[in-house]
Amino acid sequence: MKILYFAWLRERVGRGEEDVTLPSDISTVGQLVTWLRGRSAGHEAAFAQGRLVRCAVNQDFATPDATVTDRDEVAFFPPVTGG
């Protein structure tokens, strides 16, 4: 699975992109976040303010209950501030 991070999530994780192999017991965005938080102190810091983390699955906004598979592109980022 391809994971992308943007803005301050990217800075806290320390990278903009990583490829992970999804454990078989993970099937939702919420479960994925819990699992990612354990990967490093940076990941933990990135996801600590859960209220400010947004997710997209295959480039569409997704909620914590959205399903994910190993073939998905999943991105995490703060609320958008363009325009």
């Binding site: 943007f6 480039q59 363009g82 325009g83």
Partner: protein, 153 residues
């Protein structure tokens, strides 16, 4: 037929207006919004801004917003150009154009486009202050409220 562009270079509003109406005589009004980098944020001097985005999803989100606006307001065309990368105070950030047969649709279409662009398109602004500090711009609840008045996208 929306024109969607994400680019580092500046845009030419006059040329974009000409492009939007080229070869057609059914446009009675064009609404427009241009967003510009200000030299202060909450009273603090800003020396630079950097715009990051999510390539692919950005264009996808902008296309969806444009198609929703065209359908809802009967637009004859619209243009969304958003810059990314480093910008200085006074530089253009975003251009929204909405062409319609009549004025109200053009103005409402413009407001709809910029309201949703600000809340649904994956761009993030980082500001550099005069004292050297840097920080990501916080999303404003007022922006969510502005978009929400249009209902769901």
């Amino acid at each position: 037929m929306a024109r969607i562009v994400v680019q580092t270079e500046d845009f030419d509003t006059g040329a974009e207006l000409a492009r939007l109406t080229a070869g057609r005589l059914d446009v009675g009004g064009i609404g427009s919004f241009i967003g510009i980098v200000r030299d202060t944020a909450h009273g603090n001097p800003i020396t630079a801004m950097t715009l990051e985005h999510y390539p692919g999803m950005t264009e996808r989100a902008m296309t969806r917003i444009a198609e929703a606006a065209e359908a809802r307001f009967g637009l004859l065309g619209c243009t969304l150009i958003h810059r990314v990368g480093p910008l200085s105070p006074g530089e253009n950030i975003v251009l929204v154009l909405a062409a319609a047969p009549h004025r109200q649709a053009a103005l409402d279409g413009t407001a709809f486009l910029i309201d949703w662009l600000k809340t649904r398109a994956p761009f993030w602004k980082k500001e550099r202050f005069a004292d050297g500090a840097q920080g990501w711009v916080d999303a404003r609840e007022a922006d969510d409220a502005a978009a929400a008045r249009w209902g769901a996208l």
